[in-house]
Amino acid sequence: MTDATLTLARVQAKRRRQKARLGAAMRYLVLISVGLVMLYPLIWLIGASFKTNSEIFANPGFWPQNATLDGYIEGWKTSTPFSFGTFFLNSFKIILPKVIGTAISCTVVAYGFARFDFPLKKLFFGSVIAILLLPNVVTRIPQYLLFRDLGWLDSYLPLWVPSALAGDAFFVFMLVQFLRAIPADMEEAARVDGANSWQTLLFIVVPMLAPALISVALFQFMWTMNDFLGPLIYVSSVDKYPVSLALKLSIDTTEAFAWNRILAMSVLTILPALIVFFAAQKYFIEGISAGGIKG
């Protein structure tokens, strides 16, 4: 190789490196600016919840000039006889049975689908996919009538009982996919050792499913926390309101210009979901990648 071609190769390599570096810089620029635009509203929300009402629409910055806890103190009291403490407790009264019911029922059903052959299996599994795609809007009205006839209106039962009967097809689907990826060797060994299928489920399958079950519980927690339409339809007495309804109520009833109360309570409303997400984000990302998810 002559000197000339060697120099040429070197120059080209250098140029390529420069181009790569420029490309990386551009990408970071895009990512950071998109990230800022996306997250700034949330950052602003947190800052604004500590601002005075006169400052909220005057100061686009994050940092409050006259920081105050008024929004939190007044907002927490609400204009009803109940405080937000009651509403948070109510939310958890829905979330707890719903999450536990979902985890148990979906595990059992997914086990049935993934490990057994039985008549009509294809049909039933087809129905899981169908429910996955079925718009809730089409079943909502008769469900309402059904719950009315059962005397369940203004209780939390309509909000969690369907889920406790493996009604959230998405979770069934996700767990079936997860189970299919696990070889059944261990279960086979347990069966040979005389364990029945129920014991196998409890002592072999459930521990292996644990990471997927954490994803299920986390998603169900957050969706339930955010659910608005369900409580709007079924819960009518204020003392039973979960936070989502309470927040809507406070928009409607808080006197005009008391913006910081509403913003402060908005922050509190999203806080549980944020904490849970940051504490366990790996399960979320895995959950979506595994099953593909709405959201």
């Binding site: 990408r27 970071y28 895009v30 990512l31 990230g35 996306m38 509203p41 949330l42 929300l45 909220i56 629409f57 686009p60 059992v108 049935g112 057994f116 039985f118 039933f124 899981v128 429910i131 795609l133 079925l134 718009p135 809007v137 089409v138 079943t139 009205i141 008769p142 309402y144 009538l145 059904l146 369907p162 406790a164 009967l165 493996a166 299928s197 926390m225 955010n226 608005f228 339409l229 339809i233 989502s244 927040l247 809507k248 928009i251 509403i262 913003l263 309570m265 908005s266 409303t269 999203i270 979901a273 944020l274 997400f277 979320f284 990302i285 979506i288 990648s289 593909g292 998810i293 959201g295």
Partner: protein, 291 residues
């Protein structure tokens, strides 16, 4: 015996399926042919509800138009954006996990009422968005007072939550065999051509999946218009789910509301079937390790 053991494990699901899905599904079809206001028993009215919907209900026509506009702007915008960001994240950059998490946060808070409330504030006349527009030298926009803008704030809200679609795209991008890119580079393919002729075809299964899921979801948008715009102004953001809710739970016209719900359902189903049917032509299954 073991043949039926599997069915035994399915018991909760089968009960739920029958009681909370199958029966209500058929029930709403039946109700859509009746006149039912909760006071007296449902009265069979034949096609009256549907005839009224399609011949003389101007609110329905408006609501249907708005819904179609909403879905056909929101879904493509959201997916394009999700794919764009996933594509950038797919370069082996340092800090990718940080960005992935940051971009996913809005999806987590997604349907929350608190976020809808936040949207009302930042798109208010003197809100954050207008402050930014003015700072950049533009004219403040009347977001909620102008029929052409109100619906777009909801589109923006849902595009803001591109995170979950992005995570799915990213996982698919990462599973593409690197040797395909190397082969294309050796053949002198530009990055753009590689993206169009290699990346996109290999992504079609997840594009298809995201498309269906996002579409079914967008057709059912309720929280956004209910909280942010209340369907206004001039019904410019009065999406069908809002109309169904009002008919069913405010005016207690259960029969009529069921008819609207069924029209919405049929639209979603037809579009889903079209997507499935056409997918044979454009979705590319590599038939290799991708499952």
């Amino acid at each position: 015996m073991r043949r039926f053991l599997g069915l035994a494990y399915l018991t909760p699901y089968i009960i739920g399926l029958a009681v909370f899905t199958a029966v209500p599904f058929l029930g709403s079809l039946y109700l859509s042919f009746t006149d039912y206001n909760l006071m007296s028993a449902p009265r069979w009215s034949g096609l009256d509800n549907y005839l009224h919907l399609f011949t003389s209900d101007r609110t329905f026509r408006k609501s249907l138009t708005v819904t179609l506009i909403y879905v056909f702007t929101t879904v493509p915008l959201k997916l394009a954006f999700a794919l764009f960001i996933a594509y950038i994240l797919n370069y082996r950059l340092r800090g990718i996990n940080f960005f992935r998490t940051a971009f996913y946060v809005p999806s987590i808070l997604g349907g929350s009422i608190a976020i809808a409330v936040l949207w009302r504030y930042i798109f208010a006349t003197e809100g954050l968005v207008n402050m930014a527009i003015v700072a950049l030298g533009g004219e403040p926009v009347n977001w909620f007072g102008d029929p052409t803008n109100a619906l777009f704030t909801i589109t923006l809200l849902r595009c803001w939550q591109f995170g979950s679609a992005m995570v799915i795209f990213l996982a698919a991008l990462q599973s593409i065999d690197k040797s395909l890119y190397e082969a294309a580079a050796i053949d002198g393919s530009s990055r753009f051509y590689t993206f169009i002729f290699i990346t996109i075809p290999l992504l079609t299964p997840v594009i298809f999946f995201n498309l269906i899921m996002q579409m079914v979801q967008a057709f059912q948008e309720f929280n956004g218009p209910y909280i942010i715009t209340q369907g206004g102004p001039l019904k410019s953001s009065y999406l069908l789910p809002l109309y169904i809710y009002d008919e069913a739970f405010k005016r207690f016209d259960m029969g009529y509301a069921s008819a609207i719900a069924w029209v919405l359902f049929v639209i979603i189903m037809v579009l889903t079937l079209v997507a499935f049917w056409s997918s044979k032509k454009w979705v590319f299954y590599a038939g290799d390790k991708r499952s």
